[in-house]
Subunit: 356 residues, 2 copies
DNA sequence: ATGAAAGCGCTAACAG
DNA sequence: CTGTTAGCGCTTTCAT
């Protein structure tokens, strides 16, 4: 261990300002400084201020590891990415991470991430991160209807926050986008254009969002007084391929739809593929609405109408909620939501040729 | 601070096995255990083994914060994502993270990531992470020809490893994919099919890869004895839009190419768009080769011929290199490379109609 | 309202 | 080779 790097990347590289420096500079003891920094009520207002000003001046920031050794907390958020998931997760990952990271950074926290290949792997990763105190709490993206991560963390009494909902969300803080509203609005939009035969391609059924979005679609149809044709509803499409297959089913049915609503953006891209194979022109023979996570620039053919989601601000809000929970606020029943943004790229009514 | 969560997520949640437990169980002192665990040579083979066995048995793992307080190192890799970058970074991010994370995890390390919006932001983030000892070293993705991050870390004497090359790579450990070979092979492949007018759309010029890949293309042309037509070479295309614009230029030139090689996959998708606008059928009127980062499932129209990159194993190797550097190995001049994988999806020779 | 003192889990001189 | 001792930077009783 006695080589160049040991010293270089070793301990007291840049003589950091420590709590002792603070104490000396202020003529107080370390313990007073500590309590003042942590806002204990038994320290006088005056001292609190004096200490905090000095911290500012000397740019003193308690070393999180040193704190962690006593408190067990390290000011770090954990995020475990599940990669066995379908590709759909990928396009918005960067934005989402940017948000989470920003939210953490603003409060002086950091983000520890790990990727897991499968379920056992994931559980194991959680355990290691917790055992070694690498994360004080977790952000759980892509909530599943009955999420095993939730069971695990609930039982371990570790703070967490969900991106998405739960069938049973007691004691869960969550944030979600109201995809059901988007789906309902999609229907209304298409109905206003004159469509009456509207298909629906749902997303991954193990996820909470699928049930909700489907409800939104059904609600929209009901609101418009349109009947539901089971032949025009497909489930569980999360990739382009899935979407293409589902769309093929709908388009080849006895009575094909003039418009298709997709719960997942990738599925919408699949609809394009299926339509092309059948010589159908999107925007004339068929209208497509996609719920959007794919960043604008990554689209070859963006759905004509889309509901885009601000994944970055979602990440930021999730960070904030989690940090507050870890700090001790009782947010076990916090529910926050955001709307997807409507974005029309020129969808049209049903083609005159379509005879329904 | 005195509420439910303080205790819950607080310190000695699960009574961890400490070095004292080890010492007691072994009838040794903490210091001996410590040195044995760290493989100091002044501890007898026998003891080393005894200690390590016991660690295994009790599943003792030194608490990284506690170590960090003395050593300054926390067994954590840093990764700062630059988001102002173009979208191209996004599709392979998940795979890349999976790799980095796996590489870290295998050695018992963790991954701390942060996102930065712009350059100042990034520098600031580096400083904070270093000052607070949140990362022992950094992985720098998307190496630029003359990378400011490299200057910063070199000067601060902090270990790092580059994904990509440097104009001046003295004292830099790096790993890179041989994109230049892929480009050269792309040309040879097209030439073998009978193409002679081959266009080239290069990637972001500030990145090291652009110069290299272009060289590879030129080399391929030279090897084939084909002349270079400057009209058939475009620069700096990293998005679909860029690619479409560049392709438009080439296709509308006096003497359009029968095939186009793209340094960046997104640009290849742009070529598809431009071709479609001109009524050209890919695979008949025009062949396209793309250097691939877009995961298979995320393609609407994958380039006919592609060189796909294993971003996951790249991440893994980068982790490993960095960890070894941090541990003190002198790898300042390590250069590792990998090949892109050739993947033909049925590209064809020039259309008979094209008269050149 | 503040200080003194002990200790968190670990490493690292210095002895012997 | 191993034990003794002294911290690292911070928090936290317990006094005062």
């Amino acid at each position: 261990m006695n080589n160049a790097f040991t010293t270089i990347s070793g301990a007291k590289r840049h003589n950091r300002v420590t709590i002792s420096d603070m104490a000396a500079a202020l003529g107080l003891t370390k313990s007073t400084v500590s309590r003042a920094m942590n806002g204990y009520p038994d320290i006088s207002e005056t001292t609190q201020l004096r200490v905090k000003r000095m911290a500012e001046k000397l740019s003193y920031q308690p070393l999180s590891h040193a704190q962690a050794i006593k408190t067990g907390r390290t000011r770090s958020l954990g995020l475990i990415l599940q990669l066995s998931d379908h590709d759909a997760q990928r396009p918005f990952l960067a934005e989402f991470l940017a948000g989470v990271s920003a939210g953490a950074h603003n409060e002086g926290w950091t983000l520890t991430i790990a990727a897991s290949e499968n379920h056992e792997d994931m559980i194991e990763t959680f355990r290691v991160l917790l055992r070694d105190g690498k994360a004080d709490g977790f952000i759980l993206p892509r909530a599943m209807r009955d999420d095993p991560r939730v069971r695990l963390l609930r039982e371990a009494e570790v703070p967490f926050v969900l991106f998405g909902r739960q069938d049973d969300d007691t004691d869960c803080a969550w944030f979600d986008i109201l995809g059901e509203d988007a789906m309902r609005n999609a229907v209304m939009h298409l109905v206003a254009l004159g469509h009456t035969r509207i298909g629906y391609i749902n997303g991954g059924t193990q996820y909470a969002y699928a049930g909700l979005r489907k409800q939104g679609f059904l609600q929209g149809m009901a609101d418009a007084g349109l009947p539901i044709d089971p032949d025009l509803i497909a489930e569980d499409a999360v990739t382009i391929k899935d979407g293409a297959e589902a769309a093929s089913g709908l388009l080849d049915s006895m009575h094909p739809p003039t418009a298709i609503v997709c719960a997942v953006d990738f599925a919408a891209l699949g609809v394009y593929r299926a339509a092309a194979e059948r010589g159908l022109t999107i925007g004339r023979d068929l209208s497509v609405v996609g719920y959007d996570g794919i960043p604008e620039g990554a689209h070859t053919q963006p759905p004509l109408t889309t509901f885009s989601v601000d994944n970055k601000s979602a990440g930021e809000r999730l960070s904030n909620i989690l940090i507050r929970r870890i700090r001790g606020e009782d947010l076990t029943n916090l529910r926050e939501t955001d709307m997807a943004t409507f974005l029309d790229r020129g969808s049209t009514g049903p083609a005159p040729s379509s005879k329904n």
